[in-house]
Every structure is written in structure tokens, then in C-alpha cells.
Symmetry: C2
Subunit: 728 residues, 2 copies
């Protein structure tokens, strides 16, 4: 295993690679259309303080810097090489770099694994050299890197200012787009950028860990087309989000988009909904629209505080207060209920016609007195029911719209907002319709690090990200996750037996597995012959009877199920009917017997499933049964193992949860029992690596608890090592 | 009735009011904090060419213009008065204006009906004067008006440029916000703005009709908090959208927002989902987010053409092509399937590694040759499978990012795009990540009237609005709507009878109404006594039996329903059981008998409902039964009468429509039969004004057609006039 990919007690070696005291630019050029030119310009213009070694056999000087015919000829001690030459030259250059003591190389060329065939072979050759000579690789096929706080700009992007947003992007255009947006908005700055490229050595997860450790980065911002080791990513993200916000835009949210994405990078893309659930489980702030990446990163970066979802709105226009309310509600935020004391304080300072119910509408009270808005913000920020404060309207524009003489008071208002922001633990977010023209009061807020937006919609996305992060840090981050149950030898043997027989677990075996680990599965018996029927009878209790056969997967279709069977005579009849139907269905089917179990009580049908995702590993799924899963895809996913918070949040997440809470006169189901079931399944799956997939469908839940009515367990038939054991 | 509110064969009188040859500014002032100052500045600065008459008894000159002590003292012939004085002065001033021959007055003051009580009385007094003196009123409590093509700017907004976007906004701040956004973006201009205020005389619908007629307005843009005569609005919108796009943002999309809205304006707000459906039915382009109002209005205004939903994407970066694909798909648009001929042409001009499957990714082919993007756009625009072309990437920035020497070619590309736009009937939409810094090639596109955006998300909203409008114009606009059936005298009598008895229609009466007008309702009989049972028997066909009683609404709860009854003996038993249970349930219930009907065949349960909305009049609702309506609120609404297109689009709109198309091995239902049912219901409702609400729940639909299983009709008990008839 690559040492950099583990949980490192020491600092990431990327710190040295990305803050070198000398850089060799291999393929440096004086031709303005070449990357080797742009890189040189970038380093010189941004004032890189280390030594620059242009390497080009055909030049003595490049842009005023002495050039060297080869890496070997360089006199100094560069730690980093930027390789701008074509793919075929790279393996040889890496070896040369290694011999020269260079620790890391950024490889721009494409033509490696992403084109397959010979390119893949070339990439392997490159990696052999890199490992032999101890050179760490960024790329190949990377859009480049920058580390602005060390004046290293290997992309030669103009007009990017140093700041606290770190970026990892699988699209160079996306970085460019964010940089241009930031240039235009005039106050967002960047720390480090990495284009991971083919990740033949250093991978996405390493870069994220680096941004987590980097003191100049206050928010890590990721544009992701596909994950490789998704499971590892979730672990790293979990560590980093405990320290600083991680903003992720994941492309491929639709089938169309996924098709476009996979034709581009060849990356495996799991279901978008699942990916989003798992990212959120690790505390990641997922952004749904590309034009919200920068505003959300800015807001989370500026506001190093976040609480919950109860927002107080202060507005000077009813129309925009309504829009803000609509968007807050759609985003799952709440309009904080202001206390009577808070409302009384607002009434003291506002006109009688003002509305002191949230959203607060000052109704003209501030027309001649804009600093009063800051007073209102201070009043609501002091309310315990309020988690964040959202100013909506024309602040900054009073002196433009009403009278220039208001400028002084407006600036005092801005100053008061800055003071409030420093004094309170609650985030303040400002929307002003004057943001596009940057009036002085808004410039002052910006300088002081307050987020000011030109769109209510973007402001609300920031508030939502703040609220979610606040809730995550308070409730989820660091929660202990369910530990695996102790695997029982007889059950492990059961798995091996099934695999040896080339089958999955029988239903009764699956249920045994669950029951033995404390899951509520109604008692049942496999009746193997006529004589055993009597022992399975339960008096007047209606029974369900189902065929047991490894060859019959769809029992109902085969006529292998009889429901509501009451009394021994009926049981005999039902057994005969099942056996006849199944033999007619498949004459060669090997039939073990008939499973007899009491009919489940009335309740809501839910599904609990487990898959082993190729990217993210074992994942638990929960949803309501039938059309909710099949048509509406209304399901929640969490990576296993789950914390109790994870399990609770799954139940709360599904859109149809009102059905669990009781509709049409039904009483609410026992949600905590459901949560226990999810946790139990998580801990069982973690203990039995041979369990590949699990499907509890349906589980009937009602006010008294739950009952697992049907259970399927798919056995992993590829685990060679344990196969050996089974045969022994 | 106000003549202006009808379908006018002549031009709207607003044309004269909004293009006067002289304006009296009542309450004109030299004090910069007063509206009477700002209005004067606005008129002078914007170069109003008519006569300005400041009215102020305390001044001789205001801002260099001779002032008059009163309206009566004015020598000339103003057609419009802007009244800036307090509410109490208004009625007297209106009378004075009327006597002076002034045709219209804009009244800024608040303190009228919106504050209730005395304010409402004052507003009535004002209207009495206005009607007596023939003065039309804009407002009161309006944020003002402008008509920039006539240099009339009564808001004194700075820096608004004349253009083709007309605006009606119930929020002054929203106008201000749009104006600032336009000022910032630098190329959107406005024609007319009206703040309708309290609409005591001229109303929302009149203003919309005016914008429809106004030659300077190419797109009408509305910010609406609440409709008054919603039904009339839909009619006017239907007329206007046939000529030009109408963009509506309706606030109050959530319960929270509705609460905020109604505390602000007191306007009645119907369900947002219903309002959106009805607006779309009339061809309105509904915008969901406030920050998309201006981009969508701009795009629809610039691109006076629209086709369908199949978009061709040309991109120079895979990441952004993926984002575009995701957003297109989410917006209900399609990636056009390019023909083999088109792909061959693309292959001819692009590098071999380019992807010629939509989204087209040029993969570096344009790096040294950006005008090739225009060639690609031309190639795909010629494809019959393509409705619109979307350029995604860094066009405009090639000369910045790669080499300045590319500027010439980039400008040639822009020129070619302009030519293409002039030559093709298909809209071109451009997203460039360089939009924020306005490079020359993008400025050229702007000047030529091509829409260029800084966000993929906004571009896609524009493409979606174009696609929807194109589809509407092709399929829906001008479609004939279902005419009412001829009301039958015996059924009209049935309604009157029910009302006279203070009840709604019995189920069998409701079914009779439907059956008599050709709706498929299974045959059934009311069995009033034991002796009638035999005649209702249907051999071995399983029957449903239900109590008939005006006193028992919830038949199942009362034990008044028996299903799957087979044979006469069982019918006798079931009848007894129903009567016993219902007597036990309500000893005083008057029981008419028992309804006998064949059991419905298997199928999908749907609901067809009709309500009379206080704002929008009779509205048809369609959805799937049970939780789909109750929990998921997955329903479609259309104003009655419906066109066939309306009915079809209802069935296509619901999210669960896959269930109608056959899931779990079921065959698809007969959608056309369902469409016929919706149209039939529409035409029945239109013929019986006494029908207040109707509820067909469930209707069972399957591959063979539909069957109305249960029908409820609520009778309007408030129609006094027909009551008289009934008594006669």
C-alpha cells in the first residue's frame, strides 16, 4: 500500500512537494502558445521566491532566466519538476529527476492510461521509474497545480488572488470558471489547486487530506466526476470535515450526465443519490448546481461558525421577504420563531406598521435610518431560538436610492454589522439588491469578511450549507459507529456450506443469521415431511407457508406460497398444493421442505437492503416497500458501519416518512425499533465478509415494533481464501 | 363593468396615459429626499419631450421648470398627473385633474385600502371622483411607472436603459433588483414598468394586455404576489402568449412564503402548484427562482423563436458538457440525437479523439482555432433532430487563455455565430466561463442580440423556457377547447331538487349525470326493497353493494359496503348486513336503499376532481389514487374548459405516470380513454353551474378503458337565482 494513503501520524509529503525551494520547468519555452512558457510566466509574475530552473536544450535563457540543457545539468537543488514535454519523454525524465534528488513531478502531458493500450503501458513504465527513484507523481494528464501562498502558479492563471479556498478539480475548465467568477466578484481568494489527472500515484484522497492539513485552506472545494476508492474518501472526508468545511460538486446527477461523464473520464459512477447520501454522512457539504460552488465555498470559508437551521430574516421589502421565506422552506430551513421579548425589542425600535413576526419587515422604519437594520440584526441574534441571521433587501443602496446624506448612517450600519459578526457565534448572511454595483457599505462588509450576495437563492444555499454543517458538527461528527457483532462459528460455516453448494443462503438460514444476532424475526419452522407438520401448527394463529428450495427464487410465481392457513387440516392441504405447484413449475427443483411462520401483523411495509458498492463498499439502503422503492426511488443510503445518528437520519430522510408517522387513522410506527434494526443489520454485515448482499423485503413495522417477513442473503462466491477453508 | 377589462377591439387607453404629451407633477419638490423631486429629476434627465408642469403652491420654479400653484392654474394640456402628495389630498386632486381634462393619474401615496378601515373609505371616495370625472387611476400605493421609449421615468431610477423587457411588479424592490441586475449585466433594457399598487381602477390584467399590445415590448415580465381575477388573467395571458412570451415569477411557493406574502398584501393565494399548472396552460413561462427572472426574460426577448426540447450541445470541455447534460435532463429537455450525416460532418472538421455524440466534445480541436466552434454549431443546427443549439465552454476566452494571436479567429467565430443566428430558425444559447469579464467576442455576440450567460444553470433555464414555449406554440396555443355539453332539463331539475332538500347529489344521481353525458359508468341499480334484488342480480358476476343515504357520507366506516357478492342468496345476506350495520351506525339515518353494481375489473386507481377556485374558477384535477394524492400531492391541474392537449398533458405530467404505463408486468392503461374522460368531465362541469365540486374517486383504468367506481357531486347552495326557479 502506498504509505501516503494511510492515516498518517506525520504531515503529508505533499507539503514539501507543493512548497519547494526550487522548481525545474522541463520543456520551458519562449513561445507564448506553449505551456512551458505560461508556467514560466506564472512563476515569475506571481513572485515565486525559490529558484527556477528552465530546462530546454535549445535555449540559454528563457524569459530572462538561465536555462539548462537537461535536468542532470541543473546545479541547484530543486524539489519539484514541472514536466511540459510529450508523454513519450516522461518515463526517462522521471528517472533523471529521481537521480537528481527531485521529490515530486507534475506531469501535464496526456496520452497515458486515459487513452488505453500503449498509453496505459507508458503510464505503468512511468510508475516503475517513479517508485524506483522515489519521485511522487501529480498527474499525468493534470491541468496543473498552484499554491498561491507560496507564489507557485503552475497554471499561469491570471488574476487569481491568494485566499482560503482550496480546490481539487477533475475538470480544468471548472477551475478556470471558478477563478474567473472569483476575479469578477473581487474578494474570493484561493490557497491551493490540484488537478488530480490520472492519479497514477497521488490520489484524490491524498489531496483532500493535504487540504485538510494546509493552514492556508479554510474550506476544501472539490469538483468530482468519479471516485476511485470511495470508501477511503469517505474516511478522509470524515476527518477533514471535523476540522473545516468540505464542499463537493459531483457531476453526473442524471443518467444523461453520467453517460457524458463516463465517455469523458472512464470513471465508474455510482448512483448519484447514493453518492450524495454517503458524502453527507461524512459531513460533506454537497452543492447541487455548479454556479453555487463558489458562493457556498465563500460563505462556509468566511463564516467559520455554524449552528442549526432556524433562520431569522430581517427585510426592508415584503416581496423579497416572501421570496426568502419560500427558498428557506424549500431548502429545509426554518423561519425561527422569535421570542416575545425579542419582538418587544423590535417593536421599540420600529414603526408600528412593521411586522415583528419572522420574516421581520421593517416597513419603512429604516428609510431614513439604515443603520437600524444592524440594530434589528443584533436584537434577533440575541434570541436563543435563532441560529443564523439573514438580512434581505437594499442595504448599501439607501444612499443611492433615497439620499446621499444617508451614506454616513449606512456606513455606521455596516460597522455595527461587522461588530455584531465579531461578537456573536451566529452566522450573518447578507443579500442586497445593490450587490452588483458594490456600494461602499457592502465593500466594507466584504473587507471585514462578511458574505454578501447578489441573489436570494445563493444566499439561501449558503444558509442551508451552514445549517447542515452546524447540525452535523453538533449531532453526527465523531459519533461512534456500530461495532461489528462477534461472528459465530456455526454461522460462518453456514456461509461456507452455501458457497460450497454454489447457492445463496436459504430464507430460513438468512433468518437464523438475523435471529441469532438479536433481530426480531417471527418464529418459523422448516417442515421437511408430513410428520413434522403437527409440531409447526400454532392453534388458531393464521400461518404463512412457503417453499424452501435453492432452485426456486420467485416463490409466488411458482405457486410456492400460501397465506392465512389456519388449522392442521388446512396446513396439510396447503403443503400438498405448494409441492404440486412447485414440481409443476420446475420438475428438477430440489425441494427442502416448506417454511411455516405466523402471518405478520398489519403495519407499514419497509425494505432494508445491503449492497457492496464497487466504489463505496458496504452500503445500507432503507425505504418504504413497493412503488416507493420501485417507482419513486424514495430511499436513503448510508455507508456501513452506521452511527445511531446515521440510522435515525435515514428514517427522517425519506419523503414518504409521513406514512411512518401515521396516515388515514393509523398510529405511528415505532421508529426507534426501526433504527435498532438498521444498526443491527449494519453490525451483522460488518462481521460476515461472505455476506455480499442482503434484502429484508418486506419488514412490517407498526406501533409495537417490526417483524422481518422475508429475508434474502446473497453469498459472495469470489472470496478464494475462505473457499479453501471451507474445503478443508 | 369597466370597459377596459373586456376583450377590446380597440387599443388599450393605457397607451395614451403612458405616452402623454404633458405631465403634471403634483407635489413637485426641490427637496432631494422627496419623491416629487425624484420624479422631476427623472423626467428631466431622461429627456421627456412633452411639457412638465410641477404643481407646488410654495414654489415658482422647481429644478429650472416653472411651477404652478394648483392643477387648475396649469395653462397647457397635460394628459397624465403624477400625484406625490399624501393620501388625504388625493380625492380632491382627482376631481381637480378631471376638471382640467387629465385622463390618468399615478398615485404614489399609501394609506388606502391596504390599511383597511378609513383608508378603504378614502379609496372608495377617490374612485367615486375618478369615475365621475373620467380619470383612470394607476395605484394608489404604486411604486410608480416608467415608459422609457417615451422618456417617461416616474420612478427616477438611474441607469435604466430602454429595451424590450416590459415589467409589471407587485414589489418595488423586485423592479429595483431587476434594474440593478440589468445595469450590471450591461445589455438588458426595459420598455414599460408598472407597479399596479392597490389596483383600485386599472388592474393587473389590463396592464398585461397593454404590454401585449405595446410595440416596444418583446417580452412581458411579471412579479406576482397574488391574483385577483385569476380567470380573466388566464384569458388575457392566453391571448398575449400567442404573440409574445410572458414570464411570471409567482411568490409564495411554500406555506411559509404564502404566510409572508399574505401578511404583506392581503392577496388571496391559491395553491402554488395549481397556480403554476394554470399559468403554463395559458402559455406562460413560469420562473421558479427570482434570480432567473432577468436571464429568462432576456433570452426569450432576444430569441424571438423557439422550437422544441431537443438540444444539441457543443463543448470544449468534458466537465462542463457533463454539467450541461445533467441540467438539461433535470429540466425535462433532451439531448438531441444527432444524425449519422451530422456526425460525419463533425468528424470531418474535428480531431479523431473528439466525441461527436451529443454532447459534442471537440477535445482540443478548437484550441488553436476557436471559430471552428461556430462551424460545429452550424453543422448541428442543420440537423432536423435538433431544436436548439447550446455552446458550452470558454469561447471568448481563447485569446486570453491560449494566445492573443487567436483574437482574430475568435472574432471571426463570433461573426459566424451572428450570421448563423440570422440564418436559422433555431435558437442559439451561449454559456462561456469568460462571460464575467466580457471579452470582445462575447461583447460582439451581445451587441448582435445573442444571449450569453455566465452560468450553465441559467442558460438551461432559458433553453427550457424556449423549449416549453416552442412546444406550447406548436401544440397548445389556439387549440380549441371543449365546448359545454347541452344541459339536460331533467338533470338540471335533479340539481335543484337536491338543493331544495339541502343535500348534495346521491351517488346514483352523480353517476346518472355522468352516464347521460357519455361517461363510462358501470351499470347499477338502487334496490329499494327485498323484491327488487332479483332484478339486480347478474348471475355469477361478483357484485359490489353500497348503502344509499344522504345521512351516511363514509359508507365503509358505517359498514355500508359489501364487495365480491356472488349469487342471489349472498345478495340477500349482504343487504341485511348493510342495513343492520347502518342502522347501528346511525339510528336516524334515512336509508334510500342499496346500490348494486358489478365489481370493477383490476386496474390502476386514479382520481378526477373538480373544484371552483375563488381566484381561478372551475379547475380540473387529475392524479393517481391513495397516497399519490394524499401524501405525495402528485396531481395536475387545468382550468376548465380543457383542450385535448391540456388533457393529454395532465396525464403526462404526473410523476407516477410510469404506473399508468405498466409496471410489475401489468399492461399499460388506455391513456386516450382517460383523456376522453377528462374532456367529458370538463364539458359537463361547464354546462351545470350548480355543480360546485366533483370527485370521481376512484376511477379504475386499465388496458380496456376506465370505469368510474365512485362519484360525488357537491351542489352549490348559494346560487340564489336558481333557487327561486326551483321553488317555482
Amino acid at each position: 500500500m502506498n504509505p501516503i494513503e494511510g492515516h498518517l501520524p506525520t504531515r503529508s509529503p505533499l507539503h514539501d512537494i507543493l512548497a519547494p525551494t526550487g522548481i525545474a520547468v522541463i520543456g520551458a519555452s519562449a513561445d507564448p502558445t506553449k505551456r512551458g512558457y505560461k508556467a514560466m510566466v506564472g512563476l515569475i509574475k506571481d513572485g515565486y521566491r525559490g529558484d527556477i530552473y528552465p530546462v530546454n536544450p535549445k535555449a540559454d535563457m528563457i524569459l530572462g532566466v538561465k536555462a539548462w540543457p537537461s535536468v542532470t545539468a541543473i546545479p541547484g537543488n530543486p524539489q519539484l519538476a514541472l514536466i511540459c514535454t510529450p508523454a513519450a519523454t516522461v518515463p526517462g525524465l522521471i528517472a533523471e529527476c529521481g537521480r537528481r534528488g527531485i521529490k515530486g513531478a507534475v506531469i501535464l502531458a496526456s496520452g497515458f492510461a486515459e487513452v488505453g493500450g500503449e498509453g496505459a503501458a507508458l503510464e505503468r513504465e512511468m510508475m516503475v521509474k517513479a517508485e524506483a527513484h522515489g519521485v511522487r507523481i501529480i498527474g499525468p494528464n493534470t491541468s496543473g497545480v498552484f499554491n498561491l501562498h507560496h507564489h507557485i502558479n503552475l497554471l499561469a492563471l491570471d488574476n487569481v488572488r491568494p485566499g482560503d479556498v482550496g480546490i481539487i478539480s477533475q475538470s480544468g475548465n471548472m477551475l478556470l470558471s471558478l477563478a474567473l467568477e472569483a476575479q469578477h466578484n473581487g474578494h474570493v481568494g484561493f490557497s491551493t489547486y490540484v488537478g488530480p489527472g490520472n492519479q497514477s500515484d497521488i490520489g484524490f484522497n491524498d489531496y483532500l487530506r493535504y487540504l485538510g492539513e494546509d493552514e492556508h485552506t479554510r474550506v476544501a472545494t472539490l469538483y468530482v466526476e468519479g471516485f476511485r476508492d470511495g470508501r477511503k474518501f469517505l474516511e478522509v472526508a470524515r476527518d477533514v470535515t471535523a476540522m473545516k468545511p468540505v464542499v463537493v460538486y459531483k457531476s453526473g446527477s442524471t443518467e444523461q450526465g453520467q453517460k457524458a461523464a463516463s465517455s469523458h473520464t472512464g470513471a465508474l459512477a455510482g448512483s448519484y443519490a447514493m453518492t450524495v447520501d454517503l458524502l453527507r454522512q461524512s459531513g460533506v457539504s454537497v452543492v447541487q448546481y455548479s454556479d453555487e460552488i463558489l458562493p457556498v465555498a465563500e460563505g462556509l470559508g468566511l463564516l467559520q461558525k455554524s449552528r442549526g437551521k432556524r433562520v431569522a430574516v430581517i427585510s426592508d421589502g415584503g416581496g423579497q421577504a416572501t421570496i426568502a421565506s419560500d427558498r428557506l422552506s424549500e431548502a429545509g430551513l426554518e423561519l425561527a420563531e422569535l421570542s416575545e421579548a425579542t419582538r418587544a425589542k423590535l417593536r421599540e425600535v420600529l414603526f408600528p406598521q412593521a411586522s415583528t413576526v419572522n420574516p421581520v419587515d421593517v416597513a419603512g422604519s429604516t428609510d431614513a435610518n439604515p443603520s437600524l437594520l444592524a440594530t434589528c440584526m443584533e436584537i434577533v441574534a440575541a434570541d436563543d431560538n435563532v441560529d443564523s441571521v439573514f438580512l434581505v433587501g437594499m442595504f448599501g443602496g439607501y444612499s443611492i436610492r433615497f439620499a446621499e446624506s444617508l451614506l454616513g448612517d449606512e456606513m455606521r450600519g455596516a460597522e455595527a454589522m461587522v461588530d455584531l459578526s465579531n461578537a456573536t457565534e451566529k452566522p450573518l448572511v447578507i443579500y442586497s439588491l445593490y450587490t452588483p454595483i458594490k456600494p461602499p457599505a457592502l465593500r466594507r462588509l466584504h473587507e471585514a469578511g462578511l458574505p454578501v450576495y447578489a441573489s436570494i437563492e445563493q444566499s439561501v444555499r449558503v444558509l442551508a450549507a451552514l445549517g447542515e454543517r452546524g447540525q452535523y458538527l453538533a449531532q453526527a461528527s465523531g459519533q461512534s459507529r456500530e461495532t461489528p457483532v462477534a461472528a459465530r462459528p456455526e454461522l460462518t460455516t453456514m456461509f461456507r456450506q452455501a458457497r460450497a453448494e454454489g447457492r445463496d443462503l436459504f430464507e430460513y438460514e438468512a433468518k437464523q443469521l438475523l435471529r441469532d444476532h438479536g433481530v426480531e424475526v417471527p418464529e418459523e419452522r422448516v417442515v421437511r415431511n408430513e410428520a413434522e407438520l403437527a409440531a409447526a401448527a400454532l392453534g388458531e394463529t393464521p400461518l404463512a407457508m412457503k417453499v424452501v428450495s435453492k432452485d426456486i427464487l420467485h416463490k409466488s410465481d411458482a405457486g410456492g406460497v400460501k397465506l392465512n392457513v389456519v388449522g392442521e387440516a388446512a396446513m396439510h392441504e396447503a403443503r400438498e398444493a405448494i409441492l404440486d405447484a412447485c414440481r409443476a413449475y420446475d420438475a428438477n427443483a430440489e425441494i427442502e421442505g416448506v417454511l411455516v411462520t405466523p402471518m405478520a401483523k398489519k403495519g407499514v411495509e419497509v425494505i432494508v437492503g445491503v449492497i457492496r458498492d464497487p466504489i463505496f463498499g458496504p452500503v445500507l439502503m432503507f425505504g418504504l416497500g413497493g412503488i416507493f422503492v420501485e417507482i419513486l426511488e424514495d430511499v436513503a443510503f448510508r455507508a456501513i458501519p452506521l452511527s445511531r445518528h446515521d440510522a435515525r437520519s435515514m428514517v427522517e430522510q425519506i419523503k414518504a416518512k409521513r406514512i411512518l408517522e401515521g396516515v388515514r387513522g393509523e398510529s405511528a410506527v415505532d421508529k426507534e425499533a426501526l433504527v435498532d434494526l438498521l444498526l443491527k443489520v449494519s453490525s451483522i454485515v460488518a462481521a460476515y465478509p461472505d455476506l455480499k448482499e442482503l434484502d429484508l423485503n418486506p419488514v412490517i413495522v407498526n406501533a409495537d415494533g417490526y417483524a422481518v417477513v422475508d429475508a434474502r442473503v446473497i453469498v459472495d462466491r469470489d472470496t478464494a481464501a475462505t473457499d479453501e477453508d471451507a474445503r478443508a
